[in-house]
């Protein structure tokens, strides 16, 4: 038996549960109680595409150092699901801990001898205390929370505080939950060696950060960004984004006197209708968006081409998942990059924003509407399931009180009267962005007919080649303009001069930061660039040019960002090394570290020390 793991405020606990057993709320209480103790955590749900009965997992990474990505590995398993027992046991690190319901005896072969086994007769305890089967089930979760609080030396006041907060408005339920908590806690204190080697200790590392899921943040961003029309069709993992928009609108966007809504939400019949409504609303001057995932983006393809050529400021939130529809809908990936960037037929390219965490989902969620209006084109905000559906500890949402909506180049009646010879597709300013008018603006001026590409600068119908090319060239100029207005990439320079670089984006960011520090400790120094938008800012090409080799870390099979970089920046493929994680779970720091260390050493370019396990 190896030495049992000993760590304070730095370990991973994983809960293996059955979907629909009520475990989610107890697990959430566990996570929040640790935050309450001032210790940062990163938590992730791994759940099936099912409502009841299938396995789910909840992983809590406790990290006083503030690592928000997945580390990889499990130090303590709370194994509540017999179905997945074997694989759950196998996942525990050597020296780790297993917590399980010991009511029914298990054969010795079902355990491992290199871990500490902690049995607690949860069923027996709850059967003795409750007669109602539903109560027995629900309180079992709180009982194990109580036992864990003793084993990990959690402050019971922190847990109680979180229980009280959870039942705000239903205060009647609080005492019963306190009692169940105490049942588990006192049983553990009386019967088990408490605490174990993994312990929690009050710290002051959470600060003013908030704990929120990316979908809620993006939905709130849309409220702040001035969106008034939302048309959507339910699809995991994007559904909670539209729901959050509705929730926040209900709270923040009703006329205080009449209670009438300053927004319209339509659950459309499918994704074609969703994007059609968004296009119609945006054409008519409202800020409009849809929230969807890969299969929805596929269905929207034809309309996206129209929106590109008709120059409609539509906003799309794509919460990416593993495809296709019958694939792994509840698993995370960054695999829609290419289908969004080049969505539709004809020559099209689209602007994408790539937020790294919920805080940026809020910011980009609002910015997307300014960008859409400014650039008169669809804007994709690319979340993924990991950011979208997990609560992340992140910077609080920030808003500049002086900020005003940038509605872009829109001529009102006075503007039309002042303008000489308005033409919808003229490039007056040389930035490729024309002026538009909304329907109903002026009795005589500014009306035009919106269609695809068969038009001249005055929006008159034509099928001739020269005006077509003229228009297509202008659209390219507009895309050039986009490069300077989308969020710039962020560079993190290595401590020592580095010959290699790494590029990453989106939800990979948290694990990447940790991997970079770990690599640095091994003597592998890399400059890192976090890309935040497409089209790429000039900084991206400069960064690649400044390095011998560039690792491109992403969560898909086909190295989609790498393809986009090679294609758009004419970069030699040999220089770009793909580091790919795509099994549907969020990428881990350990994975990145190992993948880069491996290649860095194989090429023998950098000083390299093997990582100590």
């Amino acid at each position: 038996m190896p030495q049992p793991l000993i760590a304070t405020n730095d370990f991973v606990v994983k809960f293996a549960n059955v979907n629909g057993s009520g475990s989610a709320s107890a697990n959430g209480l566990f996570a929040k109680s640790i935050l309450r103790m001032g210790v940062p955590i990163a938590s992730r749900n791994i759940f099936p595409s099912n409502i009841q009965g299938l396995p789910t997992w909840f992983e809590v990474r406790v990290s006083e150092a503030g690592h928000m990505g997945r580390r990889g590995g499990v130090d303590m398993m709370v194994a509540m699901n017999p179905q997945t027992w074997d694989r759950d046991i196998a996942e525990i690190e050597a020296g780790g801990y297993l917590f399980y319901d010991s009511t029914r005896p298990m054969p010795k072969s079902k355990f491992r001898d290199d871990i500490t086994i902690i049995g607690c007769p949860l069923t027996e305890i709850t059967n003795a205390a409750y007669s109602d089967p539903r109560q027995r089930q629900l309180f079992k979760n709180i009982v194990y929370l109580g036992a864990l609080s003793a084993l990990l030396d959690m402050e019971v006041e922190a847990v109680q505080h979180c229980i009280a907060a959870q039942f705000k408005g239903k205060e009647k339920l609080v005492p019963a939950n306190y009692a169940a908590l105490e049942m588990g806690r006192s049983w553990a204190q009386a019967n088990l060696q408490c605490p174990i080697g993994l312990t929690l200790k009050r710290a002051d590392k959470v600060g003013d950060r908030i704990f929120v899921e990316g979908n809620a943040a993006a939905g709130l961003g849309a409220v702040y960004g001035g969106a008034t029309v939302c048309a959507w069709y339910p699809i995991t993992p994007s559904t909670s984004l539209a729901e959050a928009f509705e929730k926040y609108c209900t709270r923040l966007r009703k006329d205080p006197e009449t209670g009438e809504k300053r927004y319209a939400i339509v659950q459309a019949e499918d994704e074609l209708a969703s994007i059609g409504m968004v296009i119609g609303a945006a054409w008519n001057g409202a800020r409009a968006f849809t929230a969807t995932s890969g299969p929805g983006i596929s269905l929207m393809q034809e309309f996206l081409g129209l929106a590109y050529f008709a120059e409609i400021p539509a906003v799309l939130f794509d919460v990416q998942r593993a495809g296709p529809s019958t694939g792994m809908p509840t698993r995370t990936q960054q695999s829609d990059l290419l289908s969004a960037a080049y969505a539709s037929h004809g020559d099209t390219k689209h602007v994408m924003l790539l937020p790294e965490d919920p805080s940026e989902c809020f910011t980009f969620g609002a910015d997307a509407f300014d960008l859409a209006d400014r650039l008169q084109t669809p804007i994709f905000v690319m979340l993924d399931l990991d950011i979208g559906m997990n609560d992340w500890l992140c910077e609080p949402f920030a808003w500049d009180p002086n900020r005003r909506m940038d509605r872009g180049k829109v001529l009102d009646a006075a503007g039309l009267d002042a303008a000489q010879n308005f033409g919808r597709y003229q490039d007056i300013d040389g930035d490729g962005i024309p002026y538009r008018t909304w329907p109903g603006t002026h009795p005589e001026k500014g009306a035009f007919f919106t269609r695809g590409t068969s038009r001249d600068r005055q929006a008159r119908y034509t099928e001739e080649g020269a005006p077509y090319v003229d228009n297509m060239q202008r659209l390219l100029r507009k895309f050039e303009t986009a490069k300077s207005v989308v969020p710039r990439p962020i560079m993190r320079a290595a401590k020592e001069k580095a010959r290699d670089g790494v590029i990453y984006y989106g939800s990979t960011s948290a694990a990447m930061k940790e991997a970079l520090s770990a690599l640095e400790a091994e003597g592998v120094h890399l400059d890192a660039l976090r890309i935040r938008a497409f089209p790429f800012h000039q900084d991206v090409a400069d960064f690649i040019a400044a390095h011998d080799r560039v690792f491109v870390v992403e969560q898909n099979r086909d190295a989609q960002l790498r393809t986009l970089l090679m294609n758009e920046e004419s970069i030699d493929p040999a220089k770009m090394i793909a580091v790919l994680h795509y099994d549907g779970t969020p990428i881990t720091a350990r994975f990145i570290q190992a993948a880069i260390a491996d290649r860095a050493s194989a090429a023998n370019v950098l000083p390299f020390r093997k990582a100590t396990p």
Binding site: G226, T228, A231, V266, I275, A288, T462, E464
Partner: protein, 351 residues
């Protein structure tokens, strides 16, 4: 080809409507459809109806899908914004436009291919949602623009120009609109201006989902013997349910009728639909009986036209959503952005 707008040379003596515009002010670019195409007559009827109602043209937004029929919005109301969207998807684009600004009048133009085949779903859902619009299908029983394939409204047994016989059951869009909850449903014929113009006027004043199925012969591909959508066939089988006069703002009623001869339906906006009944057993305000009546007449081989169904007190989508009276696209920062204090509260709730 480049089409320049038609020069607007106004005859000084052209009659004007109550907003001081002449009929010519409601025209658009010169049509490029085949001479004799039914769709052009529908454009003319739309122009006439808008002129009669004295709607300022820029207060209308005209939207369409793809097809010869969907091209027509270029040929009327040149001072209105138009949107030629994608095939079969006009209803969603129109719905979005209506959500953005409830103050404009929305006119959707589509074809039978556009609405009964590729866009059948969107057609259906826009009806059941109560989008406040006038939705006109220019129904010729074929795909005109792709050169004469059968559409889903082609009657079973109808013969194509090249001799093929249609074996599939037709979709009756008007009957389906009634079933789906449209609050104004009519059918007419492009060749019957007298019937069509007041129906369009009534639809434009209707404050809910108004649908008109207009039979509109395609002279290039579906006007031969054996077609059930030809001028001759429709003239022979046209069975009008009623005659409609529409009175907006309580216009002087010029003709007097014997008691019992007319039914007046007052719409929500105050306009009155005066119906002279031609069919016994048809009550245009009773959805179930209207449905039953058109099915019965259809079984007898007749094409019923006229006002099929109207709900004078419709609930439009904005009412069911409970949105503010002001157009959403007119709301500014102070109305839309909750501000920093509200955000501080949200942050606090997430700690």
């Amino acid at each position: 080809m480049t089409f320049l707008p038609k020069p607007k040379l106004h005859h000084p003596k052209l009659p004007t409507n109550t907003v001081g515009l002449t009929r010519r002010d409601y025209e658009g670019a010169i049509s490029t459809l085949c001479a004799g195409c039914g769709h052009d007559s529908i454009s003319a009827a739309i122009i006439q109806a808008c002129f009669n109602l004295a709607i300022p043209p820029h207060r209308i937004a005209k939207l369409s899908g793809i097809g010869c029929s969907s091209k027509t919005p270029t040929y009327f109301l040149g001072a209105a914004h138009g949107f030629n969207s994608v095939h079969g998807r006009m209803p969603s684009v129109l719905t979005g436009a209506y959500l953005a600004n409830r103050d404009l009048i929305y006119l959707g133009v589509s074809g039978d291919g556009d609405s009964a085949s590729i866009g059948f779903g969107q057609f259906a859902h826009s009806m059941r949602r109560g989008v406040n619009m006038t939705y006109i299908v220019e129904n010729n029983g074929v795909y005109g623009l792709t050169k004469g394939q059968f559409s889903a409204t082609s009657d079973k047994g109808s013969v194509a120009k090249k001799g093929a016989v249609n074996a599939d059951q037709p979709i009756d869009l008007a009957a389906i609109a009634v079933q789906l909850g449209a609050t104004f449903v009519a059918r007419s014929f492009s060749g019957d201006k007298e019937q069509l113009v007041p129906l369009i006027e009534a639809a434009l004043t209707h404050q809910g989902a108004a649908f008109i199925d207009v039979l509109s012969p395609c002279v290039a591909f579906n006007n031969h013997a054996g077609s059930t959508k030809s001028y001759d066939f429709i003239r022979e089988h046209n069975d009008a349910l009623n005659k409609l006069d529409i009175m907006v703002n309580r216009d002087a009623i010029t003709v007097s009728y014997a008691p019992g001869e007319v039914t007046d339906v007052m719409q929500h906006d105050g306009s009155v639909l005066r119906l002279r009944k031609l069919h016994e057993g048809h009550d245009p305000t009773d959805r179930a009986s209207a449905m039953h009546h058109i099915m019965e007449r259809k079984a007898a081989g007749e094409i019923v036209t006229g006002l099929i169904y109207v709900d004078p007190e419709p609930t439009a989508l904005h009412e069911s959503l409970g949105t503010v009276a002001a157009p959403l696209n007119a709301l500014g920062d102070s109305e839309l952005c909750p501000g920093v204090d509200a955000l501080a509260k949200v942050n606090a709730s997430l700690r």
